[in-house]
Amino acid sequence: MISHHPSPETLLAHAAGTLLAGHTVVVVAHVQGCAHCQAALTRMEALGGALMEDLAPEPLAAEAFAQVLARLDEPAPKPPPPPRQTNLALPSGLRLPVALRGAQIGRWLRIGRGLRYSRVRLPWAPEQNVMLLKVAGGRKVLHHSHGGMELTQVLWGGFHDETGQYGPGDIGEADETTEHQPIADPEGCVCLASLEGGLRLPWFTRLLGW
């Protein structure tokens, strides 16, 4: 049962195709497992469709249709490969979201007690700050955000904070005004997160004294 969804603003930006590339990956990972957001997204896409229908049509070159007709029998291009995760030890039963197709996923790096980090590099947007996080059971992590929006999608396990319990499929949306203190569930937690702004670490940085 998913109880935490992206904000309507975030979902609308995704529907419009204007969300940052890093956030897009996390939102797609959420939407693929969330019927509620799939329905909301379809309604927003209907809005986009209605707006597109309202635009004054712009003619194409006269030969455009013939050019497309000539290509109809071309074979369809192959889909990109599934996400690479060869070196990444993951809890059994956890499969990385399809949204990570084409991403380069780094090894786990231990960055503190009970805390591991894996950089998710998006070749099409390498400046984006996307990561996998593995938090050991019971670890308390302090929110400490400086930049813009952060999205955190729970892939396995869970955590809770003042805003509630987050389990697999839930997404947490925080910005510089959010103050909370998440505590990982006893079995721990694996999350996919994206942070706006340059490379930096998310809410657990104060735990490490940075």
Binding site: P8, R43, L55, P59, L72
Partner: protein, 190 residues
């Protein structure tokens, strides 16, 4: 100049045309879809700041995708324009990605997984989208413009700010307001 322009096909007719393309690879139905959608896709891409040549090329790719993916169109889930809008949006993002990463090729990485089958009937989808359209038309012109720019611009807030000559902060709060108004439209009726 005697021929009268035929009226544009309505939502149900467009959905039926896509289904025809899916089921019988009907090139005449495809031609009708091309005539209706290609100039609108073109207009959408141009509004987003794309040059004419690139917009035309991408419009052709989207229309090819329509031909190939027509079998995935589910009229019980979304109307024709809704479905096509998602394809255009993904194609635009995919093009931007490919510009950055030459190793990417093929289908849009954003392609969504197959959605759960819908329990709605086609008339419900049509009705819901008609309601959406009338609600959209009930927005004030400024609000409608803000919503349009939110959808049609690569950098919506900055574009709105310069277009409407407003400070960025004001734009952000107006976008929020327009969304709040639209949220009523976008909420799950159930």
């Amino acid at each position: 100049m005697t021929a009268l322009a035929s009226p544009p096909p309505d939502a149900d007719a467009l959905a039926a045309l896509i289904t025809q393309v899916a089921e019988t690879r009907d090139r005449q139905a495809y031609a009708a879809l091309f005539k209706h959608f290609a100039p609108r896709i073109m207009a959408y891409l141009r509004r987003g700041g794309m040059g004419a040549g690139e917009a035309e090329e991408l419009t052709q790719e989207v229309m090819l995708t329509l031909w190939r993916k027509a079998g995935y169109f589910d009229p019980l889930r979304a109307g024709a324009a809704t479905w096509l809008f998602a394809i255009v949006r993904n194609a635009r993002i995919d093009r931007a990605r490919r510009r950055r990463d030459a190793t990417l090729s093929g289908a849009p990485p954003l392609e969504e997984a197959d959605a759960a089958p819908s329990a709605e009937s086609m008339s419900l989808v049509t009705e819901r989208e008609a309601q959406l359209r009338s609600a959209l038309n009930s927005l004030s012109p400024e609000q409608k413009e803000i919503v349009q720019l939110s959808f049609f611009s690569d950098t919506p807030h900055a574009a709105i700010a310069s277009k409407l000559n407003l400070p960025l902060g004001t734009v952000k709060s107006r976008v929020r307001l327009a969304i709040a108004k639209l949220r009523i439209l976008l909420e799950d009726p159930s």
